[in-house]
C-alpha cells in the first residue's frame, strides 16, 4: 500500500509499504477514505517529539470502510467508521472512568519504558505518533490496522460526508474537551490562545457551552478571521498588548477561563519565547511554554486553565507563583476521544456543529509532503489539509 512515512526533520515521503493484516482478535482493517494532517503532526515534522523511527507511518486523523475484521471485532465489513487517535482497550480502570488516553493496555509493554521514565507512567497507544505511545502505524495510508476495533471506531451513517465527520477522530473532541475543561459558567469570558484547528473548535465549543464571550488570540489574519466568523472577539498579538487588552475587555477582572491551544511551538518575539525556542533548537530538553505563561498571567484570580496544546518535556521559567497565589485550577491531557465521539456525532447530524469551514486544502495522499510543507510554512492560508488515498495527484 501507499503511506506517508517519516524519515527525519522536515523529511516525509509517500512510500510503498506492506499492507497491514489482522494481528490480534479484536483488530479490524480499515480502508482509508479520508485522512488529515494535524497540528501535532507538525511537532513530529519539526522533530521536537522524541521517539520516532525513520519509516514510521504518520497520521492519526482518519476514517474509512472496514475491509477485514478479527474474530472479536464487533464491526462488520463495509461499516463506515471514524477512528479515534487514542487506542483504548475499554476494560481497564482508566477506560472504565472514560480516561481513554490513559489506557493501561494499548501501549505495548516494551514501548512503555521511555514514557514511564519521562512521565512516571506510560500513556495509551496513539496512531502514527511517537514510539513512546506505541509506535502504531498511522492513518495517512491506504489501509490501517485498528486494534480494539470493538471500542474505538464509531460507525457513521451514509448520508453524511467524510468531511463532516472526519474530525471526530481528534480535533473536534479535543476542542470540545478543552472547553469542557474550562468548566464554563454563566457570564464567563474564555480566552483562547491559538486559532489553529483545535483553538477554533474550542471557540465553537465554548460558545455552544454558553460562554458570554470568547476572545481569540493569534497573529495570522486568516485564522483570526475564521475565529471572528465563529463569533469570537479577536486579538492580534502583533498589534495589541494582550494582557492589558484582556483586562480592558473583561471589566478589569481578567478572563474567567483560559485555553492554551498553542502548545510547545509558539511564535512571536517575546524574550522568554525566544530563549525557549533556542533551548528547544539545541535540544536541551526545554519546551517552549510562552503561550501557557501568558495564559497563566492573564486568567483571573481563582480562574480555570485548560491546556489542549501539546507539551512533551520540561518547562523553564514556569510561573508557578501565579498559579499558586491566584488559586488557579489546571485541567489538561490527551483527549479521551471515545468519551465524546457519540455526542459530537449527534450534534453534527443535528446541524449544531459544522466542521467543514476549517478545511482549506484537499490533496491526494500522494501529495501529502506538499501538504506538510505548506501547513507548516504557510499557516495563514493552510488551516487544514485533508488527504484522499487513491486520488489523482495535483499538478
Amino acid at each position: 500500500m501507499r503511506a506517508l512515512t517519516w524519515h527525519g526533520k522536515h523529511d516525509v515521503r509517500v512510500d510503498t509499504v506492506p499492507d497491514p493484516e489482522i494481528v490480534n482478535p479484536r483488530d479490524a482493517i480499515i480502508e482509508v477514505t479520508a485522512t488529515a494532517i494535524c497540528g501535532s503532526d507538525l511537532h513530529l515534522y519539526d522533530g521536537v517529539i522524541p521517539g520516532l523511527v525513520p519509516g514510521d507511518i504518520l497520521g492519526h486523523e482518519f476514517m474509512g470502510r472496514v475491509v477485514e475484521t478479527g474474530p472479536k471485532s464487533t464491526l462488520k465489513k463495509g461499516d463506515r467508521v471514524v477512528v479515534p487517535f487514542t487506542i483504548s482497550c475499554g476494560a481497564c480502570f482508566f477506560c472504565q472512568q472514560q480516561q481513554f488516553s490513559a489506557c493501561d493496555n494499548s501501549n505495548p509493554v516494551e514501548k512503555q519504558e521511555a514514557s514511564e521514565l519521562l512521565y512516571g507512567h506510560p500513556m495509551s497507544g496513539l496512531f502514527g505518533y511517537s514510539h513512546m505511545t506505541g509506535g502504531y502505524p498511522g492513518g495517512q495510508a491506504e489501509y490501517v490496522r485498528v486494534p480494539f476495533s470493538d471500542v474505538g471506531p464509531i460507525v457513521v451513517p451514509d448520508g453524511v460526508s467524510d468531511e463532516q465527520v472526519l474530525f471526530l477522530s481528534d480535533i473536534l473532541p479535543t476542542g470540545w474537551m478543552a472547553a469542557e475543561n474550562a468548566d464554563i459558567q454563566d457570564g464567563d469570558t474564555v480566552a483562547v490562545w491559538g486559532c489553529g484547528p483545535v483553538g477554533l473548535f474550542a471557540i465553537q465549543s465554548a460558545l455552544l457551552m454558553g460562554a458570554h464571550q470568547v476572545i481569540a488570540i493569534d497573529h495570522y489574519p486568516g485564522r483570526l478571521d475564521l475565529a471572528r466568523k465563529l463569533g469570537a472577539k479577536v486579538i492580534d498579538y502583533t498589534q495589541t498588548h494582550v494582557l492589558e487588552a484582556l483586562m480592558e475587555m473583561t471589566g478589569g477582572i481578567g478572563p474567567d477561563a483560559v485555553i492554551d491551544a498553542v502548545g510547545m511551538e509558539s511564535h512571536g518575539f517575546a524574550p522568554d519565547r525566544i530563549m525557549d525556542a533556542l533551548k528547544q533548537k539545541v535540544g536541551i530538553g526545554a519546551d517552549n511554554v510562552h503561550a501557557l505563561r501568558m495564559a497563566l498571567m492573564a486568567v483571573r484570580k481563582g480562574g480555570r486553565v485548560s491546556i489542549p496544546g501539546v507539551y512533551g518535556g520540561l518547562a523553564d521559567k514556569f510561573p508557578i507563583g501565579a498559579l499558586m497565589e491566584k488559586g488557579l485550577q489546571i485541567r489538561t491531557g490527551q483527549t479521551h476521544v471515545q468519551k465524546y465521539t457519540r455526542q459530537l456525532l449527534h450534534r453534527i447530524l443535528e446541524g449544531e456543529i459544522d466542521t467543514t469551514f476549517l478545511i482549506s486544502h484537499r490533496l491526494s495522499l500522494e501529495d501529502a509532503p506538499t501538504g506538510y510543507r505548506n501547513f507548516h510554512g504557510n499557516q495563514d492560508e493552510w488551516t487544514k489539509v485533508v488527504l484522499t488515498p487513491g486520488a489523482a495527484r495535483g499538478t
Binding site: P18, P20, E21, V23, N24, P25, R26, K72, C89, A91, C92, F93, Q96, D104, N105, S106, N107, P108, V109, E110, K111, Q112, E113, G125, G134, G135, Y136, P137, R145, P147, F148
Partner: protein, 205 residues
C-alpha cells in the same frame, strides 16, 4: 536476623519479603538505625543488601478476581502466554522446570513448588544443584473498592559459586527487573483485554 549476613539463607530472604515480613525487611535495611521504620517494601530501600542475592519485584493491579489470576500462574500452559522468553514449563508433581530462551540456546532451571495457597500465593525454589539459586513468589490480594487484584511478584536469585556464566549474564543484558515488570503487564493485558497489545502491522513483524 541481620541484613548484613552474607550467608543469609535464600528461604529466609524470600520469607522476609512476603507481605507480613515486608516491614521487617524495611526495618533491617534502614541505613540509619536511629530513624523510625517506614512502611515501604524492603526492595524499594535506597540501600539494600540481601546477603548476596539479587532481589527484584513489582506489583500490578489487574481487574480480575484472585482465582482467575491464580489459575494463570498455576497452569503451565498459560505461563508461556505472557512470560517473554519462556520456551516451556515442564511440570511433574511439585517439580517445575522452566526452560528459558537465551542467545546461547535453552537454559533450564529446575525448581520445586514450595508454597501453594489457593488464590493467595505461589512460590517456587530452585532445587539443589540447579545452575542458579532462585526463588520466585507471586502473591495475590484484593485491591480496594472492587478494582481487582494486586498481583505482587518478586524474584530473589544468586549464581551458584563455581558456575561459569551466570544465568543473568546469559540473558545478555535483559534486566530481570524490566523483564518481570513486562511479564506482569502482559498478564494484565491478557486478562483484561483477551490479547497482548502490539503495534506490529503484520503477524510476522
Amino acid at each position: 536476623m541481620t541484613r548484613r549476613s552474607p550467608d543469609l539463607p535464600l528461604a529466609a530472604t524470600v520469607l522476609a519479603l512476603s507481605i507480613g515480613a515486608g516491614l521487617a525487611v524495611g526495618k533491617a535495611m534502614q541505613s540509619n538505625p536511629k530513624r523510625p521504620h517506614d512502611s515501604a517494601p524492603g526492595r524499594t530501600a535506597r540501600r539494600s543488601s540481601f546477603g548476596g542475592y539479587q532481589v527484584v519485584g513489582r506489583t500490578v493491579t489487574i481487574k480480575a478476581p484472585r482465582s482467575r489470576i491464580y489459575e494463570m500462574w498455576r497452569n503451565p500452559d498459560h505461563l508461556t502466554d505472557f512470560m517473554e522468553g519462556l520456551a516451556a514449563v515442564q511440570v511433574n508433581g511439585n517439580d517445575v522446570t522452566w526452560v528459558i530462551d537465551t542467545p546461547d540456546g535453552h537454559l533450564s532451571i529446575e525448581t520445586r513448588l514450595v508454597e501453594d495457597r489457593r488464590d493467595e500465593a505461589l512460590a517456587w525454589r530452585s532445587v539443589e544443584g540447579a545452575e542458579v539459586e532462585i526463588e520466585a513468589k507471586v502473591q495475590l490480594r484484593d485491591a480496594p473498592a472492587g478494582r481487582g487484584t494486586e498481583v505482587e511478584a518478586h524474584i530473589a536469585w544468586r549464581p551458584r559459586a563455581g558456575i561459569v556464566g551466570q544465568w543473568a549474564a546469559r540473558l545478555r543484558g535483559t534486566d530481570p527487573k524490566i523483564r518481570g515488570k513486562q511479564d506482569l503487564k502482559r498478564l494484565k493485558m491478557l486478562l483484561e483485554t483477551g490479547e497482548i497489545a502490539t503495534s506490529a502491522n503484520r503477524k510476522a513483524d
